[in-house]
Amino acid sequence: MIRKLNIFFKRRVKRFFARTFSKITEINRKYKKPQIEMKPAVKITLTMLVFYLVFLIGMLIYKFVITIR
């Protein structure tokens, strides 16, 4: 009985993830062509800004860990 329930839930979880991934793929396909064309300079600046902000978040998490210790 427990084994059957186990298999049942595993199948449901598998189906859930399969549906979610296919949905994500569908979304990626739907928005594949951006409507706004970013100039290369803007794209590079934005990418650098995002990486920089993630670095700053890393510093904040480090400070948080030090503070609570």
Partner: protein
Amino acid sequence: MNFLARFFYKFRRVFKAIKLFLIISGPGIIVAIADNDASGITTYAVTGAKYGYNLIWFLVLLIPVVYFVQEMTMRLGVVTKRGHAEAVFNGFGPGWGWFVLLDLVFVNWLTLVTEFIGMTASLYIFGIPPYLTVIIVCVIMGIMVLNGRYWTWEKIALLFCTLNLIYIPAVIIMKPSVADILHSGLIPNFPGGLTQQLLFFLMANVGTTIAPWMLYFQQSAVVDKGLKEKDIPWGRYDTLIGSFFVIIIAVFVVIFTGTILRGVDIQNVAEAAKSLMGVNQYLGAALAIGLFNAGFLGAICITLTNSWAFGEVFGWAHSLNNKIREAPWFYANYFLTLITAGAVVLIPRAPLVTITLFVQVISVTLLPASLVFLILLLNDKKTMGEYKNTRIQNIITVAIIAVIVFMATMYAMSIIFPNLLK
């Protein structure tokens, strides 16, 4: 008779305008006042206790900043009829879209945790255990969304917004020195010099006043409300009034704790309320009730923001006007976010006030990315047409981004080089 007729028609015109404004207003006022959520009240209260009235000038400077940012999101939502996350997916593709969506979900969930921190702490003063507060809040929030339409939800939210004004009469009762407030509060100064701690508090105040979730919420709210381009002027008034209220309430909270708790090391606003009750039970109760209300208001907006954003991107039905059977994933996301955030607060010995303050700083650090996408979307003539950003609006927004990035950099540098600032 002629005078009476003219007076009557003028009165009717003004009355109609007020009525129209009351119908259209809502998103701007709600998002602004909900911005003074539990973490906001905590941040302002701790700021007031630590620095007295000395940082009021900094908060006043944020009024135009809040207005500019929120007005842009309102305009973007009205013209594109899309929420912010979907607008980024559509405009810039899935790469940037997923970044923006995950950024929103991450920061929103953290902010929701801080709302529950505030709510549980405030009701604990009245003897209600945290787990019961979490359950009660989840039930009330569930009823609010499941039994109504967007308009019902909005009017209930506006009612809670009025409760957020509780700090104003509380301050009036205290009778603080207006001369002191004007002298030390309105002249720009850095009490104790520009230290790492002061910078942290400045960033926390910016982060709690202009939170990323506000961009997403107002944009989705105007879409759900069905505002049209002709409603943009009224939307601007709505946003302007909201911007004033958010800072007025913030200033009053700072004055409140700056007067009665100056120099006291507040670890927890709820504890401050409890100790205040020993001095004046009404003031203590006002602080506690205000904190709960602020947390609740923030929670109802933030959970909706997440659900709207997911619904827009995944193509689910995602309106409060849909019943649960019509939009199951929308409501599932709503309750999942709510329950998981509430559960964090119940973890024993979690450093709740530290979490609250750090979440604000994280929030403001990630804000520039959201603002950059906002400017890019608002400068697209094909999308925005005549409602495109003006040069002044672009300059101001770029300046806001630059200041935030500079402050975040200074703070990060002060962590790496502790002797950089005093």
